[in-house]
Structure formats: C-alpha cells, structure tokens
C-alpha cells in the first residue's frame, strides 16, 4: 500500500501535476507521525501511512499551503476518511478551490489513542511501534507487547462511519462505502432516555473536569476562525476561568459553531488532557442537522453548508404556534 502511495506521489510531482503533496512521515515519537510537505519526487519515500497518522493534513491546505493554493497551484493532500470530509467542507466553505487540490485517499484502519497504549504499557516508555494484520506491537525497555488494534484505537475511529474518502481523485487500494453506525445513535438515545435532571448532572460531571486549555478548539479541523469568540475581549462574552457555567457555555457554543461542520474525526477527544467525552454533543448536533436538513458534513463539496442555507418550507415545530 505504502509503495503504491509513494509511486503515485512521485508520478504526480514528476509530471508537474501538483506542486506539493501533504502527507505524513515518521515522527520523532514512535506513536505519532508528523505531517510532511513533499515538493520533489525524491522525497516521496519519506511518506508513511499507518495508525499513528492521526494528524489531519487537510488543515494545511488552508494554512501552510494557502499561498500555493491561492496562486492557483495544485496541492495534493493524502487523506483518511475524516480528513477527506474536512477537505470537502473547506471546499464547500470556499476556503480552498476544488480545482486546486488533488485528493489522494488512503484506506484508514483507525488511528491510535496514545493514552490507551500508554495505559496498557503500564508506564513503560514505548520506543518502537509496528503493526501488521490488525495486530499492533510496541517495544521498549522491558516492554514487548502485542495487542488487537481495536483495543488501542481511538474511540471515534471504532465508531467511524466514513473510514475512506467519499470524494477523491486518486485512491490507494479500494475505497469502502460509509456504513450506518448504530453505536453512536445508541449512545445518544440512551442519554436522551435520562431525565432532564440526570442529563444536566451528567453534563456537569463531564464539563466540570474541563481546564479550559482550548486544546479541543486548537486541534479541531473545523475551527479556523482568525479570532475565536472566547479570545475576544471587547466585548468579552465569556469568562476566562474554568468556572462551570463559563466552561459549559464555551462547550455549547463551540458545539453550535461546528454543528453541521463536525467531521467526527475525534481529534478533540484525543487532544483533551482531561479525557472528556466531547463527541456526544457533536454527534447529537450532527444527528439533528441530518434529520432536519438532510445534510451530512463533508460528503459533497458542491452542497452548501447546512447552517449557511435554508429552505422556506422547513419544519418549525419548535416555534410557538
């Protein structure tokens, strides 16, 4: 698979089809690969792809590679399913032009949750990582463990509905279709069965742990505002301390800002130092958007984003009759 990817990228760069390819290379940490910018065919051999490739390369098409994209040059982006959804969202939101990007899909088996690996390693440092046929092996000093991939994959990946790109120019291997996910819906349904008081208590439990580090916002591919509402201080809408109501308002409003835009990559949960269950609210919003407006984020870059669009004959049962 990786050989095929490197060959394709080499060909693209040598033929002048793209100026730059954004992908992953082996990082300095064994459990995390680093984004890499490849601009010549010789360097294509640096590319890797495995479960350590958690970073979303799509974000660089609107940040670091923006100048190239703006100048009308083509940029190739190697994407997992969730990254591809981000990219489609950027196109729909006019952050990049579809003509300026070449989407190279890779078959994703899910990305690692390093917390899970570290827990299983029992505090021993992981120095080496390898994977084969759904088995993951980590090695280090006094450490040689092999486990099933599903024991160490990110929770959001285990519940992934679109593991492979829907929209792509090149796909390495065979792209799988999206699948309906029952687990996600079941978790929401279960939560909805609780009484209003219980739900509130549960939410307070979750968000009282938040330390307001904004790691979730910073890592989120859909959060790209130049100035976030929590950073504004004139007027200052929201307190800066981890006071519970401020924290909850931050999370609710952030959730509304990504409603119909969340690609459910789970980067927020992986980045969260407190291990908060952040996707529950996001998925609830995504489900509302899908049920009400028939919109699924990042599937069709030609479709107008749900919250920027409207239909005149929409259901309005929540409005006082």
């Amino acid at each position: 698979m990786i050989e095929e990817l490197r060959e394709k990228v080499k060909k693209l760069l040598a033929g002048g089809d793209v100026e730059l390819v954004i992908g992953w290379e082996k990082g300095s940490q064994p459990l995390s690969s680093t984004p890499v910018f490849i601009d010549s065919p010789e360097e294509a051999d640096r590319l890797v792809f495995d479960s350590t490739c958690g970073n979303n390369p799509a974000v660089y098409s609107t940040k670091d590679a923006r100048r190239l994209v703006k100048a009308g040059k083509k940029v190739g982006v190697v994407v997992k399913g969730c990254d591809a959804r981000s990219l489609s969202l950027y196109v729909a939101e006019k952050q990049v032009k579809r003509d300026n990007i070449v989407i190279i899909g890779v078959p994703c088996r899910g990305v690692l949750d390093s917390d899970k690996v570290e827990e299983l390693a029992g505090g021993r440092e992981v120095l080496e990582y390898s994977e084969q046929d759904g088995k993951i092996t980590v090695r280090g000093k006094d450490l040689d463990l092999t486990f099933d991939a599903k024991d160490v994959l990110s929770a959001s990946c285990l519940a992934c509905i679109y593991p492979d790109a829907k929209e792509y120019d090149i796909f390495i291997g065979e792209a799988r279709d999206g699948k309906p996910n029952k687990e996600q819906n079941a978790a929401i349904d279960e939560f909805e069965k609780l009484s209003s008081e219980e739900r509130w208590k549960r939410m307070e439990e979750i968000y009282s742990k938040c330390i307001r580090c904004y790691a979730c916002r910073n890592v989120c591919p859909s959060c790209y505002c130049n100035e976030c509402f929590v950073d504004q201080n004139d007027p200052q809408w929201i307190g800066k301390t981890p006071e519970i109501t401020d924290t909850m308002i931050f999370h609710i409003i952030r959730n509304l800002h990504v409603a119909g835009r969340c690609v459910e990559c789970g980067a927020c949960e992986r980045a969260c130092p407190m291990g908060l269950d952040l996707l529950l609210l996001n998925r609830k919003a995504a489900r509302e958007v899908e049920e009400r407006f028939g919109y699924v984020t990042g599937i069709d870059s030609g479709e107008k984003p749900a919250m920027a669009d409207f239909r005149e004959d929409e259901k309005q049962n929540f409005i006082m009759g």
Partner: protein
C-alpha cells in the same frame, strides 16, 4: 419563594415583534410585566451566545421573536435564524435545560393581541418551572 416573579428577556426584531409590542402598548392590552425587551435589527442577528449569556446572567427565561417566515425585512434573516434555533433548542434540551426556558415565536407588527398572548404564555410557563438554577453563574446547589 411565594413572591417570586420570573425575569424574562424578550429579544424582539425591530420590524415586526417590537412593533407588535408597541401595538399591544398603544392598544392598552394587558400582559405580565415580567419581560425586559432588547430590540435587535433582525432575528438573524441573534447569536446563540446572547441566549446563553442571558441565562448565565440570571434571566429565568428567554424569548426570541421575529417576523413571520416570508415577512423578513431583510428577506431571509429569519430563515437563517430558524435553522440556528432548530439546532440550539434540541441541544439545550439535550444537556438538560428545561424547554420552557428558551422559546421562539413569530409575531408581526399587526399582532398586538398575539404579542400579549405570547408574553402571558411564556411567563406562565416559566412560573411553572420556577427560578433558573442551571447555567446560572454563582448559584450554589
């Protein structure tokens, strides 16, 4: 708590609901004095943050009201607002905010009677569920 009266924030659009309130006033229609009005250019101006902030600052209920669909002074402001509220409302219920706390309605400039009705209904709804405790800054449980 016998004498407790709810404080309700009514966010009204300039072109319809605010004029509806005006009509209710000049027509001398009675409605509960629990509302505090904020006039905004259009219901499309309402950021969900305004609603959250009002609850946090101690309002017991929030009502957002704009022009009827199709009547927006800016043509599509209330349609955009409707999508926003359509997500906000279930989400607030999901996290455990009582549905009566945050309500939406359409009131035109000619509906003074209806304005009074809506204000009465919202006030009664909020009276029924009591003072806001969730999401209010500084409230000890």
């Amino acid at each position: 708590m016998k004498d407790w009266q709810p404080k309700i924030l009514a966010i009204l659009c300039n072109w319809c609901s605010y004029a509806g309130a005006d009509l209710a006033g000049v027509s001398r229609i009675q409605y509960p004095p629990n509302i505090r009005v904020v006039r905004i250019p259009c219901s499309g101006r309402v950021d969900p943050l305004f609603i959250m902030k009002s609850l946090q600052s101690g309002f017991d209920g929030v009502l957002v009201s704009g022009c009827h669909p199709g009547d927006c002074h800016y043509l599509s402001g209330n349609y955009v607002a409707r999508r926003r509220f359509a997500i906000l409302k279930p989400l607030l219920e999901f996290i455990g905010i009582e549905p009566e706390r945050v309500q939406f309605s359409w009131i035109s400039a000619g509906e003074g009677e209806r304005f009074a009705e809506v204000m009465t209904k919202v006030t009664n709804d909020v009276k029924k569920i009591g003072p806001a405790k969730r999401l209010v800054k500084g409230v000890q449980k």
